[in-house]
Every structure is written in structure tokens, then in C-alpha cells.
């Protein structure tokens, strides 16, 4: 046997006093990490196969299992930590590009956690959301303030198409293919019940889900998978995906083994073939090309649906967003470098892009400086983790946010970050029927509704504390934010004062 350089990252710890050898873990682990030893009538496990998804831990009836991070380590070295060493080993062995899933896990600053919210005291009363109306409804789309009146002098209340959200949160793009049918169904049903939107991602829309069209945003990405007339017609809005926070400048790759009959039909590609989205849209090499695609899609949908342009947060994001605002798009969505993904080259995920907090602040400011902030709505995405992040994003200037990882967590995801393997034990990032059925859409959708309902209450509490009873008065209200432990430059980019100022 060849020497194995890699010691597993986690260890499966089994308490044999509790284990009754029921073999449930064995059946549940798609990675086949558990095994029953018939002679000894006991369970054993292989740490190397474990991805730390906690499926076995969660279902073990006697709580005999836990997964711990290994304490096995190298001699301490400030420059060469374990991650770097192991990556070298892996590449030396395979000669390949490293792949990862989910968002950038490295120790970069999380600005949300360095921003604090205001509350009213004395001069201005706080408002009790349990007793007074507290409004979280938002509209996404261009807001032309040119008032037109009829012959009778009355205002004609006409606006360009808008997406109406009961709270400023949407489920972000996750394609059918990268996630399962049941996951999609859960998202679609939850969005419908909540009065928000979910996003198909670039994998087309399964015909079963057309009924949720009024709460669906369909995506048009560089691979153009599953894009056709009915697809556009079914949706409430159309999103052009130019980039993704987890892998700016990189396309997508759905391995052939995830392309079964259903996915193949939905994506309009042959079964078993890899679905490759090119890095750029090959009809968009500059901003005027984008404008053409925006207007082609508007033409195709009779100017009845807002067009979203989604970009990754990169260094020049403010100027790019300004260009997008002028290209006729109704909404620009900015995906920060922590944004999740089904699969991305590790180097890209961990080293490209900028934090969404900075990107959002810069975009909002640039659009205001240019006097065009009302022409587009801004959606922030990429690791919005809780209701406070939502409130802070809105106060920085976002009209709404997209959540991806948080929604998956609600469905049971345990952030094992091996979505790319396709063996998600939670029935989310997989197409294996036996695994998919582990996610019950009736339960999944309920959990999503619960999560959003909880966040809505929390958003209302925080708004009430600030004396704000309508979310529009929070949007861009940076006076409600203060930084802690941030330097002058960070504060100036975020456009907020320091605590105590």
C-alpha cells in the first residue's frame, strides 16, 4: 500500500458503552464511513471517509457518536500550516486543481460583526412591534420619480415592473442539479408562502415548479441551460448571472454523474454529460453587450418583468454596478466573497473577491454620488447569516439580501463542504434518489418558513428599537450604524462612524 500523506481532518468518536450496533449509521452514511464487524458484533469506522456532515450523529438513537476535529498536527509553523501542507500533498498526488464547496472559510474579517446598531433613548421613542404596525415590505425594481398625470390632473400610478417582498430577504440562486428536486420544492413552496422569491440558478426550471412561478426568479447564465420561452414566461423576474462571489471570473461545472433524466430534461442537455458554464457569457464582452442582453430579455418578457444582473464583488465593483445601472437593469445583485457554491476551485474561492459589506457600501455610495441610486435596486448576498446581518445590510444601503447557505442550513445542511461530491447525506446537494428522499419537502419548506418568520420578528424588534416602523426608512440609514475596532479607512468605505462618535 502506498504511503498516505494525509491524516483525516476529523475523527469519528464512538462511545462503545452506548453503541447498540443498530447499524443505522452504516445505512445513513453515503460515504460508507461506518462498517459492521459481524464476528465481533460491533461497529467500526473509517475517519478518512468521513466528511463531517453529522448525519450519523443526528440519527444515532443512543447518542453514541460525535465527530471531532483531529488534534493530530504538524510541528507548529507560522508559515506552513496544516491546510497548506495538505494541499501540497494532494496536488503532488493528483496533479489537479483543488475543488471546494460552500463559501470562503478562511479567517478574513467579517464586517457585520464589527458593526453595531443604534436604539432610541429619551429624545425619540422606540416602537413596540407587538403593539404598533411594523413594516418590512419592499419593492425591487427601478423607481422613476417622474410623475405623470392624467387629463384630470390625477397622478397615474404607473411604475416599471417591481418585485414585491414581504421582507427584504430572498433565497439565492441554487440550481436544480447542484441541489435536489426536494430542496428546490422546499425553497419554491417557502418563497410562495412567505411572499418572497427563490432563484432557480442556472439549471432551468423543473416543469413541476412552474406553479410557483409568481415567486420564482429564473436565471440566465453563461451556459444558457434550460432557457426558453416558457421558462422566462413562468417567472416573476429574470436574473442574468455575470458572476458569483465564490468564484468570480470562473464558470460552472456540473459533473455528468449529477445529470440524470430529470436534470437532463430541465437543463436541455444529454443525460450524463458534464454541464459546463463558460467563465464569460460569450455574447457579453463589455457593458454595451450586457445592455443588449438586458433588453433582449425585456423584449422577450414584454417589459413586464424586472431584470436582475448578478455580479461578484470584485475590486472595481462600484464602477461595474454603475455601468449595470445604466444598462437598463432594474436590480443589481452583489455577491460577496463568502458566498456559497456547489463547487469552486479552492484557490479562487479563497483568494478572489472582496467582502460584501465593503462592496455594498461602495456601490450604494457610488450610485448615490452619480444620482442614479433610484434607477436600480441593490441586493446584497454572500454570507448573510442572521437577522442582524439583514438589518445592517439594509442600513448600509441594500434594498434586500439573498440568502443561500442559511437557507440550506435550515434544510439540514451541516456545512461539510463536500457538495461537489454529490453524496449529500442530507438530501440537498445530491441527485441520488435514496439520498434525495431524506429531505422531506413538507418538513423542509416549513423549516424555511419558520426561519424567515423568526428573522422577520427580529428585524421588527431591531427596527422598533431604532424608532423606525417602515423598512424604507432604514434603507441607507447609515447613521444607525457604528463600527467597533475598525480603522479610519474601513469606516470611511463603510460610510459609518465609530462607536462613541
Amino acid at each position: 500500500m502506498a504511503v498516505n500523506y494525509i491524516y483525516p481532518e476529523q475523527e469519528i468518536v464512538r462511545n462503545y458503552d452506548r453503541c447498540i450496533a443498530c447499524r443505522a449509521c452504516e445505512r445513513q452514511c453515503a460515504n460508507e464511513a461506518h462498517e459492521y464487524l459481524p464476528e465481533q458484533k460491533k461497529m467500526t469506522s473509517d475517519d478518512a471517509k468521513c466528511v463531517s456532515c453529522h448525519r450519523c450523529v443526528s440519527i444515532c438513537p443512543t447518542r453514541a457518536l460525535k465527530i471531532v476535529r483531529t488534534d493530530h498536527d504538524f510541528r507548529k509553523n507560522g508559515s506552513w500550516d496544516k491546510k497548506n501542507i495538505y494541499e501540497v500533498y494532494k496536488q503532488a498526488e493528483t496533479g489537479g486543481v483543488l475543488l471546494s464547496s460552500m463559501g470562503n472559510p478562511l479567517d478574513f474579517p467579517i464586517y457585520w460583526d464589527k458593526i453595531l446598531l443604534n436604539a432610541s433613548q429619551v429624545t425619540n421613542p422606540s416602537i413596540d412591534p407587538l403593539r404598533e404596525p411594523m413594516e418590512t415590505r419592499v419593492f425591487l425594481g427601478a423607481k422613476s420619480q417622474d410623475v405623470t398625470r392624467g387629463a384630470d390632473g390625477k397622478i397615474i400610478p404607473k411604475t416599471t415592473p417591481q418585485l414585491e417582498l414581504s421582507l427584504p430577504v430572498m433565497f439565492s440562486a441554487m440550481s436544480y442539479g447542484s441541489i435536489s428536486y426536494n430542496a428546490h420544492e422546499s425553497l419554491a413552496r417557502a418563497a410562495t408562502e412567505l411572499g418572497i422569491y427563490y432563484n432557480t440558478g442556472e439549471g432551468g426550471l423543473h416543469e413541476d415548479f412552474y406553479v410557483y412561478g409568481a415567486n420564482t426568479i429564473v436565471q440566465v447564465a453563461s451556459g444558457r441551460f434550460g432557457v426558453h420561452r416558457e421558462y422566462l414566461d413562468a417567472a416573476a423576474g429574470v436574473e442574468i448571472k455575470m458572476g458569483q462571489g465564490a468564484k468570480p471570473g470562473i464558470g460552472g461545472h456540473l459533473p455528468g454523474k449529477k445529470v440524470g433524466a430529470d436534470v437532463s430534461r430541465t437543463r436541455m442537455i444529454p443525460m450524463g454529460t458534464d454541464a459546463i458554464s463558460p467563465a464569460p457569457h460569450h455574447d457579453i464582452y463589455s457593458i454595451e453587450d450586457l445592455r443588449q442582453l438586458v433588453f433582449s430579455l425585456k423584449e422577450a418578457t414584454a417589459y413586464k418583468k424586472p431584470v436582475i444582473v448578478k455580479i461578484a464583488a470584485v475590486h472595481n465593483v462600484a464602477a461595474i454596478a454603475s455601468g449595470i445601472a445604466r444598462s437598463g437593469a432594474d436590480i443589481v445583485s452583489i455577491d460577496g466573497f463568502r458566498g456559497g457554491t456547489g463547487a469552486a476551485p479552492t484557490r479562487i474561492r479563497d483568494n478572489v473577491g472582496i467582502p460584501v459589506e465593503m462592496a455594498l457600501a461602495a456601490v450604494d455610495k457610488r450610485l448615490r454620488d452619480e444620482g442614479i441610486r433610484d434607477r436600480v435596486s441593490v441586493v446584497a448576498a454572500g454570507s448573510i447569516r442572521n437577522a442582524a446581518d439583514v438589518v445592517k445590510a439594509v442600513a448600509l444601503g441594500a434594498d434586500a439580501v439573498y440568502i443561500g447557505t442559511a437557507a440550506l442550513l435550515a434544510l439540514g445542511c451541516h456545512l461539510c463542504r463536500t457538495c461537489n461530491v454529490g453524496k449529500c447525506n442530507w438530501g440537498i446537494a445530491t441527485q441520488q434518489p435514496d439520498l434525495v428522499k431524506r429531505l422531506n419537502p413538507d418538513v423542509g419548506y416549513r423549516r424555511l418558513v419558520n426561519l424567515m418568520t423568526a428573522w422577520k420578528h427580529e428585524i421588527e424588534e431591531m427596527m422598533g428599537g431604532m424608532g423606525i416602523n417602515s423598512i424604507e426608512s432604514l434603507k441607507g440609514n447609515r447613521l444607525m450604524l457604528r463600527g467597533v475596532g475598525l480603522n479610519e479607512k474601513e469606516l470611511s468605505i463603510l460610510g459609518i462612524g465609530h462607536a462613541g462618535e
Partner: protein, 373 residues
Amino acid sequence: MTEITEGRCRIPSGCAISGIFSRSGKRFSGEAVTDSISVMHERSNGLGGGFAAYGIYPEHKDRYALHLFHNDQDARQRCEAFIEDNFEVVAASTIPTSRVPAITGEPLIWRYFAVPRKDKIAAMHVDEREFVAQCTFDINKNFEGSFVFSSGKNMGVFKAVGYPEDVAAFYRLSDYEGYCFTAHGRYPTNTPGWWGGAHPFSLLDTTVVHNGEISSYDANRRSIEMYGYQCTLQTDTEVITYITDYLTRKKGLTYEEVCDVVAAPFWSEIKKMPEEQAELFKYYRTVFAPYLITGPFSVLVGFEGGMMALNDRLKLRSMVAATKDDMVYAASEEAAIRVIQPELDRIWAPSGGECVIARLYPDAMARLKEGKL
């Protein structure tokens, strides 16, 4: 030490407001409004008082009456060069004042009746009023030591650091006669010590006196600043003034419509409205969402030929309105109205978001335009 003045920081304040309006265009002196506001002495703390008076300069009705504070003669000369450059100044003088022991530290207070120069307006490609507004911003932002605190026609703002009754005596408000007066007594939680920070705040003929502290301030400010306004004072009043000016002058909304935008009804109420009306409110709340004002406020907005009183939609600040014959009154407290008019035809507390608008009767409006009020 850096002085903590308006514009460097945000200073929350509580306040008293009062307004009197004659719909038939009877001109009356500034005494009544002084009596009214001084009843509410307890609501001020001597750190700011002021008045807006409409119809007081009929002889100059077609000229902009620019009221300015100058810190010193140098500032005045620099600023006047700019004014001369952009306006034909028909009359320039100090504003008459009386010595009042309680009022100290006064700047130079000047008044210019001026007509914008046509060629300058043409060069800027804007209309006359926008030109005057831009000149005002220019001075307030770029001319250190000078501040325009009134810039409308046939109206004027008078304000200072002090209790309102002292401010009235200082400016000899009883010498002025107009068809509308509004007044303000301020209770800032901080020491502003700067005259420009007192209310009313004004732009062209729009003036605002305000009681409250709005929680939507920065959302409102950052939106209005996109459209050529510069909030240099960081006060609620300033941003409310600009919103009113923007929505009426630039977007052509009526004052009733402005109320519907800034104190829009809750969605739960909109849902109950007839469809056409609901559509309209949905439109306001979509397109003009950045101008919704939340948090406690009661405001009196003065404008040519009219006065508007408005409360926030939860009515978190007191305000009472009343009428007697052609007179309309609005004040923070009923006592402030009763003291000047014990007999009233009607007195009521407008509900949250309900606007009360008094306008000159059409014939009075016509006379105002002719300068014959």
C-alpha cells in the same frame, strides 16, 4: 477645542411650534404668534427660537429677500461680492434689531432684496428658483462665516439663539405684518450656540418648524442629496425642508400629496382602501419610499399662500389645530392657541399622518400676487 456646532454633529431636540394663518389675507403683526409661542416657554430651553413671516415685504414682492448671518465684515464682503455677481441687489441693509439682554453673541444680520441676473441663470441652464436655491447652497457650503437663512419672496425668517419671545423682541417682530406666521422654540439636548441652527429652516419660500426627532433622517438625507441638495446642518428640519421643496417644486406634487408621501398610511390601512386609492398609495410607497419620514414629528410648513401642519403617522408628538372665521391655528398645545383666540369655531387634534392645510382664498391669492394684500 473644536466647537460642537450644527453640521458637525447631530443634535436631537424637543420643541414647541405654533402657526397662525389668515385665509382671507388679513395682515396682522408678529405679536400674536409671539404670545402664542411664549405660552410654551417650558418646551424651549433658550437655545433657539425663530419665526417665519409671510406677506411682509409687499413692496418687494418680486425680489428675493435674502437674509444672511455674517460672522464678520470680511465674511460679509466676500459673500456680498458673490451675491452682487449673481444678483442685482436693489436694497441691502442690516435687519433692524433691538438690544435684548438675553440675546448675545449676535452675528452681522443682513437683508438683501435681490433679483437674479438673467445671464447667470441662462448660463446655469436652470430656472430662476433653482438658480436661487443653488446660490444659497453655494454660500452656505463654500462661504465660511456667511449663512443664508431666508431666501424667498415676500417672506422672511427671523431666528436666533434664545427663547422665542426674546428672539421676537430682538427682531422687533411686532413691526412686521403678514398673513401667516410660524414660530419655533427649541429644546436641543446639546449646546449648539449657533444661530443658523435655530428654526425655521428654509429654502426659497418653503419654511419648516419642527418638533421631534426623525428616525429616518439619514435615509432621507442620503436620498435627497442625490438631487442637488446639501444637508450641511444635519438637522431634521433641514432635510424635511428639502424633501418638501423637491416634491413640490421639482416633482410637481401638491402639499396634500406631499403629506401622503412623507406620512404615508400603513400597508394595513392601504389594504382597506378602494382599489384606485390603494394603487396610488402603493405608487407613493414604491417610488417615493426614500421620503417616508418615521419617528416622532410635528411640523408646520409655510409656503407662498399656504401653511401645512402634519404629524407623524403614529402621532408621537402633540399638535392641535383650530379655526376661527378665516383664521387657522396650529400649535403643540391647545393653550398656545387659546391664549390668542379663546373663542374658536373648531379645535381638534389632527390624527397621525392627517395633514391640515390652510390656503389663501382665491381672491386673496390674486391680491397677494399683485402685491395688494
